[in-house]
Amino acid sequence: MLKIQGLECGYGRMRVLEAIDFEVGAESVGLFGPNGAGKTTLISAIMGMVKPWKGSIELDGQKISGAETYSIARMGVALVPQERELFPGMSVEDNLMLGAAYIPHAKDDIPAQLEKIYAMFPILKERRAQFAGTMSGGQQRMLAIGRALMSKPRLLILDEPSLGLQPSIVAEVFDVLKGLKTSVSILVTEQNVRESLRAIDRGYVLENGRIVLADSAEGLKTNPYVVKSYLGI
């Protein structure tokens, strides 16, 4: 699915990531690390929002590094950004609709997709006519996930999906993720490592722009460094 080799990139003259080798197959992959480690930059690079300096990014063998964000999205990569990036002055339903309207393999299937998303998040159905900007943070997060799923993604990327949410909603979000695992590949970055380890198959630990550890979920759970630094035991 997604294959990154020798990736190096940054902003201006500041290098953020170097020598990144990274892979997501038909599975759920977690990306962990402290604030400022480069998680969001890595996601931005995948989405074409930050241009790589070196290395390559491939999606199913097709090179996507250097492509525009919108064409990467049209190839089946959907992002749930940390800042959600919704259209605040448009209705919930229009937000969802736009998730699929420009994706070639999803745009003809909008009504059915909408029903699916509404079944997954009943609150969105209830508020379908409300402006996205007037909803609570948790509801906006669900809408962002819903909008991403509308595009029938092959790869779903979630950047800190639980950030700023109350625990009950975090649990809800992860339940949804677990439910999705079978149909799409997932890449999720999280600070809430304990919660996300329940939902993933494999994980990477990113520190200071380098990958310092890669292992299965089980392996990470028992790794003494992870336990000490991220699970806080």
Binding site: M47, M49, E68, T69, Y70, S71, A73, R74, A78, L79, P81, R84, E85, L86, F87, P88, G89, M90, D94, M97, L98, G99, A101, Y102, I103, R147, S151
Partner: protein, 307 residues
């Protein structure tokens, strides 16, 4: 709920003012509405560009001037009425606008706002000076019979042609509302306007959308340019005052609020005509424009702070 009540109060006040004016000074209402339609029809396309592409297009009036010149000479050459030229001019201006967008404005979208202003201002100068070089400062006016169409009620005789601009403003407004809220391309344009980053991650080609919106706005500018020729004489600097006026109306309405442009225009048009109708206040009409702008913007920022 609060919004609905406020709208109802505003509507009630407007109707009351309208009734008073009809009985007392009917020409104020007639010419005020005509002026409002004219202002709004010119300002709405600029509002569209500012609301979605986030560019203050200082060459807005010059684009209209170019459209008027194109219409004038096409009509002269073909012996055609400018009304028949509305749609062809709209198409030509849209294509021209798209090309200008790709060659210039697009390059400045990520630049600081000041650079964008200087660039569109540069375009404005290039357009008006270009026309000046070719046609000189001489003014052109198309003699048309229907523009003197008139209506007489009792002692009152007034021109009716300028009501066309009220119609045009309404068509522009409802047309754009329909486009932006009911069509997929329009919704994508709204999305781009509200959050270009969010639009890109759902697969919308942001720059292409900007280009489409700019071209659409210019199609409206072109249509208005053809109509402008029926009312006004044209000369190289004919467009530039409308850039400033349009910008101020947009500022009064609030960026992205297209129906608001129409309301602001009505407020301005009727107030201007009201002041002009009395000897003592005649010379205040020009100043009221700025007073209204300052008043509305202050009121809005005060309301914003309370909220």
């Amino acid at each position: 709920m609060a919004i609905q009540r406020r709208t109802a109060i505003a509507a009630a006040i407007s109707i009351a003012v309208a009734i008073v004016l009809i009985l007392w000074k009917p020409t104020v209402l007639i010419y005020g509405l005509q002026a409002a339609g004219f202002y709004a029809a010119i300002a709405i396309p600029m509002g569209l560009v500012l609301g979605i592409v986030h560019i203050v297009n200082l060459s807005h009036g010059e684009f209209m001037m170019l459209a008027s010149y194109a219409t004038y000479f096409a009509c002269k050459a073909l012996g055609m009425d400018p009304l028949l030229a509305i749609i062809p001019t709209a198409i030509v201006t849209a294509i021209f606008g798209w090309v200008v967008f790709q060659l210039t404005i697009r390059r400045a979208l990520k630049a600081p706002e000041l650079n964008q202003l200087i660039m569109t201002y540069g375009l404005a100068i290039a357009f008006s000076q270009g026309i000046n070089l070719i046609f000189s400062t001489k003014t052109y006016k198309m003699p048309l019979d229907y523009v003197t169409s008139s209506m007489t009620i009792g002692d009152l005789s007034f021109g009716t042609w300028s009501f066309v601009f009220v119609g045009v403003a309404l068509v522009f407004m409802f047309g754009l509302q329909f486009f932006l809220t009911k069509t997929t391309t329009g919704k994508a344009a709204m999305a781009v306007g509200q959050n270009p980053k969010g639009a890109a991650i759902v697969g919308i080609n942001v720059y292409r959308t900007y280009g489409i919106v700019f071209a659409l706005a210019l199609a409206l500018v072109g249509a208005m340019g053809a109509l402008f020729l029926t009312k006004s004489a044209i000369f190289p600097s004919v467009g530039s005052p409308f850039t400033m006026k349009s910008f101020c109306l947009i500022a009064m309405a609030g960026v992205g609020n297209i129906p608001g442009i129409l309301s602001a225009s009505v407020l301005l048009g009727v107030t201007e005509q009201f002041l002009r109708a009395f000897r003592g206040t005649r010379d205040w009409a020009e100043i009221v424009f700025f007073i209204l702008i300052i008043g509305v913007i202050l009121a809005r920022s005060y309301k914003g702070r309370k909220a």
